[in-house]
């Protein structure tokens, strides 16, 4: 068994910054992450690209390259680091140490921690369109992950569809790398500028982010990649894998050839661990997803368990770093760490920075609203990919009296497959909310039980005799 003052789950911007900060205060820190290298989603494989593929840094862009210094700072911090290690359970009694179970190299290791910081980040919102289970249909983030970690890219014809900054960024990265993109199908509803305008004055505090966004839009416009606007009714068509993409753009039907279709409709907090420990969540109507309820110190409703970064609400990498820093300083205070002379000043500074970084969110939420059609889904479209449950079946369960996702799960097995509802949870909540005419808060979400990751028999057997 391993004991530590602070256990951090997730080595992205939030987790790395929190680890380095907590070490400066003198706390012992263990950081656990299922990736082989530090960096999280934004800086995935940063160390490998610096050492083995430095040419790729040019097209991945300056925000990506900036991760190298962050990873270096984290490596030098003296935090204990377990890469390629999956957290599959967290037991968080109100008093006393928390216990974390980690599958690592075929055995389960047990960690006792005085405080826990969840920095598990975001996932892309699942986009349940007809044909999205066909091989060849992936998320934008999936293709970007392959480009960052392996220099792999989809063969032409490649179509990108959806809305939001990550789609824009990936299109521009492809263009800069010389990877042909056949078309961008932009699902942003008409009137983005008008919707954004009222939020502009406040957003100017975050002018750096705004400038970056503007530069990306200009880069896409000058790339020559055809962009179809106001796209709706998107479908992936094909027999064994995707062959064509159909949609309407400004009311006109468009049909394109594609061997790969990449989807993206923004990112949402990865809910597994905060749901597992039963902390309180609330629906965010502007972002159409649940957020864990956090105090301004970053603590969940479960004492001693904190959340930093996009897992607590989407703010992007710089905001993730600041929430990581704030949480680490607050935890150090609570645990009575010794070296904390300037802690209060630093917290004030971090909060100021965070305010500027969060100032652009209302503008972005208004310009790129999350899809309004997911709650309206009906018919054959698969909602639960694992158990192959259609939107129609979920509506049927609602009509048969299922008040919430857990009853729908019992009726249909939706959410019972290996992904434990990660891919259908939000959709099922939205459809049930629509069917019952209620708010998502009143409908709720799946109950999540351990293990939250597949554990082999060997890993379970090794549990008692751990270490």
């Amino acid at each position: 068994m391993t004991s530590t003052d602070l256990a951090i789950i997730g080595a992205g911007p939030a987790g790395m910054e929190a680890a380095a900060t907590a070490r400066e205060t003198g706390l012992s820190v263990l950081l656990i992450d299922e990736q082989p290298e530090p960096g999280g989603q934004i800086w995935r494989a940063i160390e490998r690209n610096v050492s083995e593929r430095p040419d790729n840094l040019a097209f991945l862009g300056p925000d990506y390259a900036a991760g190298a210094a962050k990873a270096e700072r984290f490596r030098a911090s003296g935090a204990n680091y377990w890469p390629s290690a999956m957290v599959w359970h967290l037991d968080s009694p109100e008093d006393g140490d928390k216990t974390i179970l980690v599958a690592w190299d075929g055995v389960t290791r047990q960690v006792q921690a005085r405080s826990v910081l969840l920095a598990t980040g975001a996932m892309e919102r699942p986009v349940p369109i007809p044909g999205w289970t066909l091989p060849g249909v992936m998320s934008i983030g999936a293709a970007q992950t392959m480009l960052k970690s392996s220099g792999l890219y989809p063969q032409a014809p490649l179509v990108l569809a959806g809305s939001g900054p990550l789609l824009l960024l990936f299109a521009v990265q492809c263009h800069a790398a010389g990877i042909p993109v056949s078309a961008v199908l932009d699902t942003t509803p008409p009137g983005a500028m008008m919707r954004g305008l009222p939020h502009l004055p406040k957003a100017l505090l975050g002018w750096r982010t705004l400038l970056k966004g503007r530069r990306l839009m200009q880069a896409l416009a000058s790339s020559g990649i055809p962009v179809y606007r106001h796209v709706r009714n998107l479908e992936a068509l094909g027999a064994d894998s995707v062959e064509r993409v159909r949609c309407t753009s400004d009311g006109q039907t468009v049909e394109l050839e594609a061997t790969t279709l990449l989807l993206h409709e923004g990112v949402v907090p990865n809910p597994q661990l905060t749901r597992l420990i039963g902390c309180e969540h609330r629906w965010n109507a502007a972002q159409r997803c649940f957020h864990p309820v956090l105090s301004d110190r970053g603590e969940t409703s479960v004492p001693g368990v904190f959340v930093a970064g996009d897992g607590g609400g989407i703010g992007g990498a710089p905001a993730a770093e600041n929430t990581g820093r704030i949480a680490a300083l607050e935890i150090a205070e609570e645990l009575g760490a010794v070296n904390r002379p300037s802690g209060d000043i630093e917290i004030v500074k971090a909060r100021d920075n965070l305010r500027a970084q969060m100032a652009v969110r209302p503008l972005l939420d208004a310009m790129y609203p999350p899809p309004d059609w997911i709650g309206k889904l009906d018919g054959d479209v698969p909602v639960c990919r694992c158990e192959e449950v259609s939107a129609r079946a979920v509506r049927g369960a609602a009509a048969d009296g299922a008040p919430g996702p857990n009853q729908a799960k019992a009726f249909l097995r939706a959410g019972m497959g290996p992904c434990q509802g990660r891919m259908c949870g939000l959709t099922v909540t939205e459809i049930l909310a629509d069917a019952h005419g209620k708010e998502p808060d009143a409908i709720g979400y799946y109950r999540i039980r351990p293990p939250i990751k597949p554990v082999t028999v060997g890993e379970l057997a090794a549990l008692d005799g751990a270490d």
Binding site: P126, G141, L152, P154, D240, C386, P418, C419
Partner: protein, 106 residues
Amino acid sequence: MFRRLPEPRARAVHFTFEGEALTAHSGDSVAAALLGAGIGHSRTTPRSGTARAPYCMMGVCFECLIEIDGVANRQGCLVEVRDGMTVRRQQGAPGLPEDLADEGGK
């Protein structure tokens, strides 16, 4: 389906998929290695037996579930490919209690 940008410093990794010898680059996940080698689908669903391929590549969709060195239900996108690995397509729902597996076959 996937191609590779030039990688002058990459080391080749040799593994097998369904008995066929394949080559990947060191640092690839098993899921990326298969996509890079042109493998169109890596599992079939327990219910209808349809072909599926990785969707998220970051550990959340579980479409990459695969058998690695005799162990089923591994997340291919989170496991690094290694020399000598034996990888097999995951058909249906191995390792589930029999009644569930039977149900899947119907």
